[in-house]
Symmetry: C3
Subunit: 333 residues, 3 copies
């Protein structure tokens, strides 16, 4: 199974290309919509661009299902989808499976027929192709100095129709992925990692088979963390931290946001942040894990390999990776 969240060079370059392609469409010089008074309803004009993507929902080995950008390319999690505030994303979902399924986004605007829910009869029957439209917008004035929020955020998408009316079976089997809506001017990362805490797994895997993400010292890395399933979790990353706000960075010296390195990651929630790999701490192998003790002991842990700036392995890294892979994670010494 291909895993776009796994940052081996081969996978990353493929994903980077896809991501760049999607971003390029959104970034190509379209003027930002003016912040103004609210326009109500789906007829509201978008000042951004419309991008069209075809997604394939496929059955995968091991009882899994995934979304992919081309036939035979489905992965768990699915590809990172990106847009700028104001853009529209038209997703043609090809259901190659024998199951009812759909795609339901968080954070963006959609009419009831793109809700992805059986409640609104918005899903793909087995073998069916259906188009879902996701719109986005900038903040607009409410009253006084206040603004109704725009769509920018680290969001996610998932099935909402397989198994139950809430897509419980589809989510359990891997039909989920990251969706990013950027505000114009946001800093773009050099690498992206998607981490889904889902019951006792990370991206439906357990240690030592969880993703090992890689970056070179100083690279700007974007993490998108998503929660799913029935259990509560806390996401912890060693030796790196971020601001608990929209971007993970501070807007200025008086930004009141708490800086954290551990955050609740519960079903349906998501957040994202950027770090400079190894900044202030150096290269090496750093754990990311659920901080609920019996979850980390049970296998909800993975590695973030920060290589030297030239891409070579830092001292001790091979040994740490070997240590991680060499024993089942449940048992201490």
């Amino acid at each position: 199974m291909d895993d776009p969240a796994l940052s081996s060079p081969r996978h990353l370059s493929r994903r980077s290309l896809m991501t760049t392609g999607v971003l390029a469409a959104g970034a190509m010089g379209v003027a930002a919509p003016a912040v103004g008074t609210p326009l109500t309803g789906p007829a509201r004009a978008s000042a951004g661009v419309t991008k069209r993507v075809t997604l394939y929902a496929e059955q995968l080995p091991g009882g899994l299902y995934g979304y992919g950008l081309a036939p035979g390319q489905a992965t768990v999690p699915g590809p990172v989808l990106e847009m700028y505030e104001g853009d529209t994303l038209e997703i043609t979902l090809v259901n190659t499976t024998n199951q009812r399924l759909s795609i339901h986004p968080h954070g963006v605007d959609y009419s009831t027929d793109s809700d992805g829910s059986p409640l609104n009869a918005s899903y793909n029957d087995p073998g069916e192709t259906r188009t879902y439209v996701w719109r986005s917008r900038e903040m607009f004035a409410a009253s006084g100095r206040r603004f109704m929020p725009g769509s920018a955020g680290y969001w996610h998408y998932h099935d909402h129709a397989m198994g139950t009316d809430h897509g419980t079976a589809g989510v359990a089997k891997g039909l989920y992925g990251a969706l990013i809506v950027r505000r114009r001017g946001d800093i773009l990362p050099e690498k992206q990692f998607t981490v889904v805490f889902h019951d006792m797994t990370i991206n439906n895997r357990m240690a030592p088979d969880t993703p090992m993400f890689e970056a070179n010292l100083g690279q700007r890395v974007e993490w998108i963390a998503i929660g799913h399933g029935n259990l509560f979790h806390t996401f912890h990353l060693h030796a790196h931290r971020w601001a608990d706000n929209r971007t993970g960075m501070l807007e200025g010296p008086s930004d009141p946001s708490q800086v954290i390195d551990n955050k609740d990651l519960n079903p349906g929630s998501s957040f994202g942040f950027q770090v400079l790999a190894g900044e202030g701490v150096g290269p090496g192998v750093w754990m990311y894990h659920c901080h609920v003790q019996n979850h980390s002991d049970g296998g909800m842990v993975g590695l973030f390999l920060v290589r030297n700036a030239d891409g070579s392995m830092p001292p001790g890294a091979e040994e740490a990776i070997h240590r991680f892979r060499g024993h089942t994670h449940q048992h201490g010494r």
Copy 2:
């Protein structure tokens, strides 16, 4: 059972009147207290008004208990209580039941005898009437540019004495409600919905008997979400989003708040936000639900009906409501 959180026109107009009455007292042109140095202790003068409310705690059918603003009017949840920062609320609680009970608020100031806890011998014996005083205040200077926070927020109140010293039986049976403290200048909503995630229920109900909230396209709707009980939850609303801060709106373009559509809603916590019904997405039937998969599958889901701007039903809405009511929610197709 009357349900003030259920926005049928009859109920809403009744609640709106009550709410307006309570708000009017708080809003009638009283000068805001100056932001200044702290004044310690209950003797601190309030620059707001004092409002007096009588609440009746009553037994209801189905083993429930509720608070109401008049005899025979108790509901689950209880009425929305509102005040402006600086106001005082004097609540005369009439206990018409044969149980020990109390009322304990979050977010406001009270002396130990208004704590509502058995620890401070602050409760109503069966049949007893007792007055609780809740004060509020504006932020005041701490040091440098910092301020000690005021009382403004989306809070809640609940029993703290029935069954155990923490009111576990009272909370379990419905003795809870929303409390809003507004800052002067806050935008007022046209409608209000109270949603209490409480163990496997919403407002002590399960689908399809959960509240269906209604608004017309573009109406400014205020949601107050409260958590209770023993389980963890995440509140998700389809097709609408809000800023994760005090008001749910952005204070300006550099407000760092994350924008979300899914938020942890755990015991004792509360939050609120305003949305424009159907803004950017159009009218229709939208789900709100706990995003923990086995909670939504188990019945923690309700409907938000956004009608056309003229109050008529949008296409597909009747069918969606029928679908929701027509089958038990636990089973998919």
Copy 3:
């Protein structure tokens, strides 16, 4: 067992001295590093001071383990460690036990050999002494108006090596404590309380043996709340509230932070805030507790005694304390 979180005068003055000592080093007139461009890697110069602390990990009665600043002084939780952004803390950990253990911090910078994890072979064997180095830094410019966050925060430290590779046994037995990194100019408190919600305990104790924290009316009190273990919790403090941001105070009138009195406190997370004891509510005995109903009923509750300004007991306080201690907490009346 000595408990530094328990604010009896004897303990507090001892801890205050230690804390003052640690703070003094950090505060002694060292110029703040300029906010500038990022410097990558552990070679980055610190503009702060380097402080050296020796910690002793010891076995305690009742199967507990603790960290202490002198032999025979270990406590649960361990001492509050403090530094200013830019400072470095060199911790020489003396392992007096027959168990493998370590110290792992949240929020600060450390190389892999100070990670405290078996993954990086960073731990003390039984009887071994080992030095861990924690660095900190101020925010620095990212791009545009944004800053990469500094280290300031209410953090914590804990074992990461006893029992399992995640230190599950060490954490379960009390090897944890608070770590504060302050930004220059932050307001210093008069008292500090550390509250660790850890499975069904507070600081590994259950009511009525949980800590009773004490302050005089109007004193500036700092709470550091830490979550550990396998369960989810919500921290609630009666009659006091704080802003849900880095300091618990508002940065100014347009600070968007929600003001709260109940917050999720899950494994690996921490937060802190300052309140003026009894401000606006008067002296008395106030509960702090987990708001998950069967956790508070099960013993996750303690007392915050606010004395009169002159240190004398307010009316009703003795009775409330007697009530709290006199019956097991699980049973109501």
